[in-house]
């Protein structure tokens, strides 16, 4: 099993390295290599999954092994692999959807200029995502957390010639960084108080009371900040709709099924460290996100943006599930959502591929042209809207039940359930609005309609596979055992009253019944309303839109979040940058330039001294010697008699001198 786990992680890495360097020279530009690698990873993940499935009691660990990675003095950082039930199901989700997206991309990206590089990036992302779910400590999860962010950045900006795409990639990366700072701080609090990074060690020490009270709440909320960024929760959700600038299969893999779910996964992985206050915070953030994003999705015209807001909304649901204590519900929804949202994105990619437009005003009546896409898309929509027996119904119902149960136990927070129920209805409404605008009715743009055609086999096959997985019954009966809720570490020290416990149990039963019927009711009414407005056209959307102009504008402009950030954070940052730039240019550069000027002045002075003084002295001596030599050479006449005469005078002088 450990070999399987390691191979699952290393195969995509190997494929990425080969692909990025020599992919272009391989046959078919090497698309088969990453695809093959990720399919192998999927096959290797199956035994792990079945092992978990056949021993599905809570806390079952399939593989746990770690190795020393770094050592500074007494500090030892280990790096290891930890596979429990949650990891095993995440491995299946990631490898399966990634495989299908790779296969789909072979058709979708055909003929792209950077076809080979696209697969390399996709494979890098898969590696990072698998690392994220496999790693056994906070330090490692942070590393892979940033790596998936890098993969996302590279793929959103894949068509970087488009300014909107390169802007979107920067926005995604920077927004994520904001959340990551909080997560990093949280991890540092854990490390500085407990001195360990490993999940199991941290959980044990927290259960022993190593970190508790307000500090633990703060730590949990800080770690959740990472999830706010990565899972596009309010108020850092703004990057996800813009991330739709990337290729559609990327949106399906990264921005619907896996990376954005990483935040939910992380909350699930570290679930036991959250205190009740921290969980409440998570639930409230999730509620705001779910409701806000659902309302924005109503008015969007871009097919991918509708799905993007729907993703944000569903991620909010998962957070509410976790926050209200429905661990199983939240992670179940993560799993089902991964499949049906990937299906919806790939389906929308198929539509975009056919009509070369993302605007729903250009579509309509595509049902006959693209039957496979239509039927699979419809299944995805039914799943997302929460219609039984499709998968989304079961998981969303579980979340609603969890929220209701929470509301029953803490009546002040009943509004969470109400908002969730309302969002469920809105979800059904906007998804069927999308179906009616895209697939039924009359073609709005005849030229594009005539051009439209069903997508190639590599693109429809993943749609069919995902559609099968979106049918709910295959999830029945085992998932709640596989993802059984772990005991909160903070609860281990607090004895839970037996009476209260049984009361909660009674509430749980009641909550499930209410949630079941109410969710069917709201989904049905949402669908009905959409049909009335967009299919039978009994109510004019335009008329209502102009009647509720302020509301419409508010939603159309996405609650003015981008404008607000523009006016506050971005402007403040730019302003601060300009001040720093001015400081840099005036003071720092001035100082450096000043030193340079002084040095150069001093150097030229020294040069002058050197030239005039030192050289002058040397040259002067030489010149004096020259002058004298020039005089003296005149007595060297070459005439022997002159010499003799001189010798004579010399002797005479000596004589005279001798006399004294």
């Amino acid at each position: 099993m450990i070999t399987n786990a390691i191979l699952i992680l290393l195969l995509p890495l190997f494929a990425f390295v080969v692909q990025i360097f020599i992919g272009k020279r391989l046959p078919r530009q090497g698309d088969w290599l990453p695809t093959g690698a990720i399919i192998c990873s999927f096959l290797l993940a199956l035994p792990i999954f079945f092992d978990a499935l056949s021993n599905y009691e809570a806390g079952h660990v399939v593989v746990q092994q770690s190795w020393e990675w770094l050592r500074f003095g007494n500090l030892e950082i280990t790096f290891g692999i930890y596979v429990d039930n949650l990891t095993s199901i995440m491995l299946i989700v990631v490898t399966l959807i990634s495989s299908l997206v790779h296969i789909y991309s072979i058709g979708y990206m055909q003929g792209d200029e950077r076809y080979s590089r696209y697969f390399a990036y996709l494979c890098l992302f898969s590696f990072a995502m698998l690392g994220l779910v496999l790693v056994d400590n906070f330090f490692g999860i942070y590393c892979f957390w940033e790596l998936v962010g890098l993969g996302s950045y590279l793929l959103i900006g894949f068509w970087f010639e488009k300014k909107s795409a390169s802007d979107a990639s920067k926005k995604a990366f920077i927004t994520n960084r904001v959340g990551d700072v909080g997560m990093f701080a949280g991890i540092m609090i854990i490390f500085s108080t407990l001195g360990v990074f490993g999940f199991t060690d941290v959980f044990t020490k927290i259960a022993d009371g190593g970190l508790s009270g307000t500090m633990l709440t703060v730590t949990g909320i800080l770690i959740f900040f990472g999830a706010i960024g990565k899972s596009a929760q309010f108020p850092l959700h703004v990057w996800l709709p813009d991330a739709m600038e990337g290729p559609t299969p990327v949106s399906a893999l990264i921005h619907a099924a896996t990376m954005v779910a990483a935040g939910v996964y992380m909350v699930g992985r570290t679930f036991v460290i959250y205190t009740e206050d921290a969980l409440l915070f998570i639930a409230i953030i999730g509620t705001i996100t779910a409701f806000m994003a659902a309302t924005i999705a109503i008015v969007q015209k871009d097919i991918k943006r509708v799905l993007a807001y729907s993703t944000i909304s569903q991620l909010g649901y998962m957070m509410v599930g976790l926050g209200t204590g429905g661990y199983t519900a939240g992670l179940f929804h993560l799993t089902t959502h991964a499949f049906f949202k990937a299906l919806l994105f790939l389906g929308s990619g198929s539509v975009i591929h056919a009509v070369h437009s993302q605007d729903m005003d250009d579509m309509g009546g595509l049902r006959k042209k693209m039957p496979i896409t239509f039927w699979t898309f419809l299944i995805g929509t039914l799943a997302l809207s929460g219609v039984p027996p499709f998968s989304g119904f079961w998981s969303k119902d579980a979340i609603l039940a969890s929220a209701l149960e929470f509301g029953m136990n803490h009546s002040a927070y009943m509004w969470i359930f109400v908002a969730m129920l309302l969002s469920a209805g809105i979800t059904a409404f906007y998804m069927f609005r999308l179906i009616f605008m895209t697939f039924t009715g009359q073609a709005k743009d005849q030229k594009k309609f005539d051009h439209a055609h069903e997508s190639p086999f590599t693109m429809t096959l993943p749609l069919v596979v995902l559609a099968v997985l979106s049918v709910g019954t295959i999830w029945w009966g085992w998932i709640e055992h596989l993802l059984a809720k772990p005991e909160l570490a903070t609860y281990a020290t607090v004895a839970v009253g037996a009476v209260e416990h049984s009361a909660e149990h009674g509430n749980a039963h009641l909550a499930h019944t209410i949630a079941l019927f109410s969710s069917i009711a709201v989904a049905g009414s949402g669908i009905l309303l959409a049909a009335v407005v967009y299919h039978w056209k009994k109510i004019s959307a335009e008329a209502w839109g102009s009647k509720l102009k302020p509301v419409y504008n508010l939603l159309w402009n996405k609650y003015y979040f981008d404008e607000m950030y523009e006016a506050t954070v971005i402007r403040a940052t730019l302003w601060k940058s300009r001040i720093f730039a001015a400081f840099d240019v005036k003071i720092i550069d001035g100082f450096v330039n000043g030193i340079a000027t002084v040095t150069s002045k001093f150097a030229s002075l020294q040069g002058a001294i050197d030239r005039v003084g030192v050289d002058g002295m040397v040259n002067g001596v030489a010149r004096v010697v020259g002058v004298f030599s020039n005089r003296l050479r005149t007595i060297q006449t070459g005439k022997i008699q002159t010499y003799i005469l001189m010798a004579l005078f010399a002797v005479l002088i000596l004589f005279v001198l001798q006399q004294f």
């Binding site: 050479r633 070459g638 005439k639 008699q641 003799i644 004579l648």
Partner: protein, 103 residues
């Protein structure tokens, strides 16, 4: 009657030396210069012999005088050969013209 003493010989020698020196220094003809050299040598010989007679009263001075005469003859022969060579090269024995070593 003035007796002939050492001083007389020395004065004679000095006169002879001066004459020789004069001809060495002033004459342009190389052969004349050589003749001046002979006069200087002979002035020295007179000194040797005078000192030998009046001071030591033995024959050492005469011996050295004889050596000087022999070496002077040899020197004169070598010098004349040089002069002949100079003549061959310059077609002149004028010492003023033999100045190719001048700085």
């Amino acid at each position: 009657m003035l007796a002939v003493g050492l001083n007389h010989y020395l004065i004679l020698s000095a006169i002879l030396f001066c004459l020789g020196l004069f001809s060495v220094v002033t004459k342009k003809n190389a052969v004349t210069v050589l003749m001046g050299v002979e006069l200087i040598l002979n002035a020295a010989n007179i000194n040797f012999i005078a000192f030998a007679k009046y001071v030591d009263n033995d024959l050492d001075g005469q011996m050295i005088a004889l050596f000087v005469i022999v070496t002077a003859a040899a020197a004169a022969a070598v010098a004349l050969a040089i002069v002949l060579n100079i003549y061959q090269r310059l077609k002149s024995i004028n010492l003023d013209e033999a100045d190719s070593l001048a700085g």
